[in-house]
Every structure is written in structure tokens, then in C-alpha cells.
């Protein structure tokens, strides 16, 4: 569907009072729930037009942060400004410039996709005609046109999330909060959501994204803030953080398990630029090679080919949340459900899915 330019009304990104600065500024934000300190003095900035990834385990305070910044919760102390508006004293102005997509679909499940979006358009003061047109435009954009008339209840998880994003985008918010937007989605749907988020950012939105996945943060975020137990424990550009954590791990599976040690040795001794620390993991039957670039990946695979090794599988792994935590804090990630020293926390912390490379 093509829409004549200049027909859609509503708030636009031009409404950010201050340009070129921080779209979100949080200082010393504190929120208690009884004895629990969900936020314990959080400071962070999101530069206008960028994506800040807030990475942390369950119970780190990510959702509380988003709820404070979207006027759903009143912080106990500290201050926060979004698009120049104070969360505490200017909530009404602030609500005009934000969009929120939570972990749980915030659409009316009994209403169809088009009914949901039309309603939101009307609530954002679009005329009937504009609301209808904007709803259709958004359905088209999020590939929901065919399902437009079906109740949202019948949508798949991914469709619901897309409808949710579409609902958040109706008002063309200048600041968008995405609270674990892909939690519980299958990889294909997750990629769809990522593509949409990247598009919104390309169009100039400022995004605060919370996630438990390092991979998601790497895909979407310009900067990263690592939170744990209501505190910011690390922050910076993704590449800075990755440099600390050590990039990716290349895993090579030899066709013959007996060649593991020989293969690791060959990589180690080849003297490829910047490459060191290849190890054979006997239990898994793979050779692990830490790499920092795609060139190194190609070089390693090429080398093994030249030396006549038969390879049955190759994959690369981003550092898991655990590894990031280990790198920046020297301790394991804690979760809200378990004490930090709990062992075997692998099932409570999601690690990144392996990123498949040609095999």
C-alpha cells in the first residue's frame, strides 16, 4: 500500500526538544519493592538515534527500569528524563513521545489486528481516516495484512509480537522501549523482529532494549549497559565490551575424533595473525579457537583444508551472558530466583544459540 507523503499525523521525531544530545538520561534511579531493591541507583544515557542494550539476567531490574521510564512505576529516588521530559513531573508530555513493547503482548487479544491498531490511532488523536490508513500501513509493514481481521488471540507468538511492535509504532515515537522483545520466540521470528527494530532505528528512533541475549545485543545495540541486581556493573560500546570478553569462539568438529589433538596443534602452530589459544575439547569432540574477525575464521578453515583435515562441522559462538558477566565482573551472573553462588545456573541463564556457519 502506498500512502501519499505528508498524510500521517501524530507525534514525530522532530518533537524531541533537544537534538543531538541524550534522548534518555537516567541518574541514580532507585525503586524498592518492599525489602527488594529492584533498582539500586541506576545511571545510564541513550544518545539520540542510537540503541542502548541493557543486558542482564532475570531479576536484574531491566523491566522495572523500563516501567519507571514509561511512567508505569514511580521511582523512589533519582531522576530520569526522556526526550527532555521529566519522568516524575512531566508524565503526560512524556507519554506522547514514547512507545513500549513489553515481554508480554500489550494488545487486546479479543480484537483483530486492524481493530487494535485503529483503536490506538484514535487514542493518539488521528482522525478516523488517518487511523484507518495508518493501521493498514502498519499491518502491511509488519506482514500482518492477511491476518488483519483475525482476533489477535489466534495469532502465533511472532505475529503477536509484530502486532505489538506495530501498535508501538503507530504514534511514531521518538523513544522506543523494547523489553526483551524476542524472549520466547523461535529463531526465525526473532530474526523478523530484529529486522524490524533495525528498520525503526534506521528511520531515526532511539531505542532502549533490554535483553538476556548477548547475540541480540550485538545485533541491535550500539552501546551496552550490563545490569545485575539493580545496579549497572559495566557499560560501553559493544566492541569495547567484546574486546574485554574476547570475541567469538570458532568450533571445529573433525570428521575423525582421533584427530582432535592434531588439529588443535596445527592451528596453534600455524602462526596465523592474532590467533592463539586453540584447544581441543575432548568431551565435546571439537576444537575451540578464539577469534576476533571473519578473516581469522576463513584463515583457520583454509589452513585445515590445506593440511588435509576432514571437517564435519563448523560453528561460531558469541560469548554467553555468563561469559560476559565473568569477563566484566569476575563472577557468575546472578538471577533473581537464585543466589549468586548457586551452582548449575545454566538452565536459568540463557546462553546464545550457536550461529551457524557453512558446514
Amino acid at each position: 500500500m502506498s500512502v501519499p507523503p505528508g498524510t500521517v499525523v501524530g507525534m514525530t521525531r522532530n518533537d524531541i526538544p533537544r537534538r543531538g544530545g541524550n534522548a534518555v538520561e537516567v541518574r541514580g534511579l532507585v525503586k524498592h519493592f518492599g525489602a527488594t531493591k529492584a533498582l539500586d541507583g541506576v545511571d545510564l544515557d541513550v544518545r539520540e538515534g542510537t540503541v542502548l542494550g541493557v543486558l542482564g539476567p532475570n531479576g536484574a531490574g531491566k523491566t522495572t527500569l523500563v516501567r519507571c521510564l514509561s511512567t508505569l512505576l514511580r521511582p523512589d529516588a533519582g531522576s530520569a528524563r526522556v526526550a527532555g521530559y521529566d519522568v516524575l513531573t512531566q508524565p503526560r508530555q512524556l507519554r506522547r513521545v514514547i512507545g513500549l513493547t513489553g515481554q508480554y503482548a500489550s494488545v487486546d487479544e479479543k480484537l483483530s489486528g486492524v481493530e487494535n491498531l485503529y483503536m490506538i490511532g484514535r487514542l493518539l488523536d488521528l482522525s478516523r481516516k488517518d487511523a484507518r490508513r495508518r493501521a493498514e500501513e502498519m499491518l502491511e509493514r509488519f506482514s500482518l495484512t492477511e491476518a488483519a481481521k483475525r482476533p489477535a488471540m489466534q495469532y502465533s507468538g511472532g505475529m503477536r509480537r509484530r502486532l505489538d511492535l506495530a501498535a508501538s509504532m503507530i504514534g511514531q515515537p521518538s523513544v522506543l522501549y523494547l523489553d526483551e522483545p524476542t524472549t520466547g520466540l523461535d529463531p526465525r521470528t526473532r530474526n523478523e523482529v530484529w529486522t524490524e527494530v533495525q528498520r525503526m532505528v534506521a528511520e531515526g528512533a532511539t531505542v532502549l532494549l533490554t535483553t538476556q541475549y548477548m547475540e541480540e545485543a550485538e545485533q541491535l545495540a550500539d552501546e551496552l549497559t550490563v545490569v545485575d541486581r539493580g545496579r549497572v556493573i559495566a557499560g560501553g560500546r559493544i566492541d569495547e565490551l567484546k574486546a574485554k570478553v574476547g570475541g567469538r569462539t570458532l568450533q571445529i568438529r573433525p570428521a575423525d575424533r582421533a584427530e582432535l589433538a592434531r588439529m588443535a596443534e596445527a592451528v596453534e602452530l600455524a602462526g596465523l595473525a592474532g590467533l592463539a589459544g586453540a584447544t581441543a575439547d575432548e568431551a565435546e569432540g571439537v576444537v575451540n579457537v578464539p577469534i576476533v574477525s571473519d578473516e581469522q575464521l576463513t584463515a583457520v578453515v583454509g589452513l585445515l583444508g590445506e593440511r588435509g583435515f576432514a571437517i564435519s562441522g563448523i560453528s561460531t559462538h558469541l560469548p554467553s551472558l555468563d561469559e560476559v558477566f565473568l569477563a566484566v565482573t569476575g563472577k557468575k551472573a546472578s538471577t533473581g530466583a537464585e543466589p549468586a553462588d548457586a551452582t548449575g545456573s545454566d538452565d536459568t541463564i540463557r546462553t546464545d544459540a550457536p550461529e551457524e556457519v557453512a558446514a
Partner: protein
């Protein structure tokens, strides 16, 4: 979305973020439309409004009617009962608002509404508008059943409409109580449980089903101040003829008092709810 739409003109928002009365009305109607679409998507939610009047009028007419008006005189009881049931119907429909609000809050959609530039009260007012519609449906069915069973209006159609309007006004004020309950209690079941505890004595300790003159003195005293008695008496005298001033004013006073106390509490609770 093309770049051109991003730079589209802005719908001149009031810059202090205040919501004008016209915008407020538009928001309420958009939200009321949502509530109506919910009913359309789930017609079973109308069962109570449609079936309750039918079952109640049949049950009470034939179980109590003979005892109160004398065997064979059930028809005469209908004129006594129907205005009473109008009061009861309002209360029962109003009760559904509480569970509805409670349910709504469990869904993320409330979060969306509360992060949008709309008056937070508009979500609740829209709910009340649509529930008032349901109340009107129930009352219409009640009256239709009443007429089928021999209800006669001794005054005029205008008096009858006034009775309906009075019942609706009172019912709407009750909705604020139940909204407040719905926002306070943890589960919809709990709302229903508490509501029933309050409703039973109010309904039966009133002049809804039977004249209060044969009740013990203390209970008769209670019924005099029971707003449901006031409403039932007002509707009864509007339909059957009789002095209406006292009961009508009492009902209106109750409705106003209930609204003035509970509506601000409900809105503030709604605002603060996490």
C-alpha cells in the same frame, strides 16, 4: 513507511500534555468501541444481561408471587416485582465490571493504555459506558418479560422511562464501587466472592422482593436506609403511581454520594496500580 511520513505534520498537541475535553471524549469513545468489540468477539459475555432478567422474573413471580399476593394473583405481584428487579439488575450487572477490570489488568493491554497520552480515567469511563449499555439491555428484557407476564404501567411512558433512567444512574454509581474492588483485589474470583457477600444482604434486606412491613423492626429500619429499597420504591411508585419525591431524591443522593467517594478513589488506584 517512507521517510516522508516521518516528517509528516504534527497534530498540534497541547504542549503541557493536557488532554482537552474533545480529545477526552474521542478517547472514551475509542475505548468504548473496544469494549463493544470484545462483546462482539465473545457473545457469551452477554449471557448474564440477557438471561438474568428472564430467570429472575420467572422464578420470583412463581415462587414468591403466590405467597405474597395470594395464589392465583401472581400477575399482581409482577407490578411489585419488576421495579424491584430493575434495582437488582443494576447491581448484578455492575458487579461484572469489577471482575472485568480485574481481568483486564492481568493483560498487557492496560500497560499500553497507561503509557499513552490519554486521561487514565477514560479507560474506566469507557468501561462504565459500555456496562451501562449492558444494563439497558437487561432492563429492556426485564420490562419485555414483565409486560408478557402482565405488567401494567399505571402512570405514563415518561414515568417508566424516568424509572429506567434512575435505575441506570444508580447502577452506574455502583460500578465505581466494583471497579475499586476489582482494582484492589488480587483475583477476579476474590472480587466475586466479596461482591456476593455484600450483595446478598443488600438485595434481600430491601423492598425489592416483598414489602418490608412484615419484617422485624431492626430489619425494617435497615431497609429504610438501604439504597436498593429507595430505588425499588422510587421505580415502583413511578410505574404504579404514588409519592415519588422522597425515594427519588434518596436514590439520587445515594448515587451522587457513592460516585463522589468511590470514583476518585478508583481513578487514583488505577493511576497508581503497578
Amino acid at each position: 513507511m517512507s521517510a516522508a511520513t516521518i516528517d509528516a505534520p504534527v497534530a498540534a498537541p497541547a504542549h503541557d500534555g493536557r488532554i482537552g475535553p474533545r480529545a477526552n471524549l474521542r478517547h472514551i469513545s475509542a475505548l468504548a468501541r473496544r469494549n463493544m468489540l470484545q462483546i462482539k468477539a465473545d457473545p457469551e459475555s452477554m449471557f448474564d444481561a440477557v438471561l438474568m432478567p428472564v430467570i429472575f422474573i420467572l422464578l420470583f413471580t412463581y415462587v414468591f408471587g403466590g405467597n405474597i399476593a395470594g395464589k392465583g394473583h401472581e400477575q399482581e405481584y409482577v407490578n411489585y416485582l419488576v421495579p424491584g428487579l430493575m434495582a437488582m439488575m443494576g447491581m448484578n450487572i455492575a458487579m461484572a465490571v469489577g471482575t472485568g477490570v480485574n481481568d483486564d489488568f492481568k493483560k498487557g493491554v492496560m500497560d499500553r493504555f497507561r503509557t499513552m497520552p490519554i486521561a487514565r480515567s477514560s479507560v474506566l469511563i469507557a468501561k462504565i459506558v459500555v456496562e451501562a449499555g449492558r444494563m439497558l439491555v437487561a432492563t429492556s428484557i426485564l420490562l419485555a418479560m414483565g409486560f408478557a407476564l402482565g405488567l401494567t404501567v399505571h402512570t405514563s411512558v415518561l414515568h417508566l422511562l424516568a424509572a429506567v433512567a434512575l435505575a441506570m444512574a444508580f447502577g452506574a454509581s455502583l460500578m465505581w464501587i466494583f471497579i475499586l474492588l476489582g482494582l484492589t483485589m488480587k483475583t477476579a474470583q476474590a472480587v466475586q466472592g466479596v461482591a456476593m457477600l455484600v450483595l446478598m444482604p443488600l438485595q434481600f434486606g430491601s423492598s425489592i422482593f416483598a414489602p418490608t412491613t412484615k419484617m422485624p423492626g431492626w430489619l425494617e429500619g435497615f431497609t429504610k436506609y438501604n439504597p436498593l429499597s429507595n430505588l425499588a420504591d422510587a421505580a415502583r411508585n413511578l410505574i404504579n403511581g404514588g409519592p415519588v419525591a422522597h425515594s427519588v431524591w434518596m436514590t439520587l443522593a445515594w448515587a451522587a454520594a457513592i460516585t463522589l467517594v468511590t470514583a476518585p478513589l478508583a481513578v487514583s488506584k488505577f493511576r497508581r496500580k503497578t
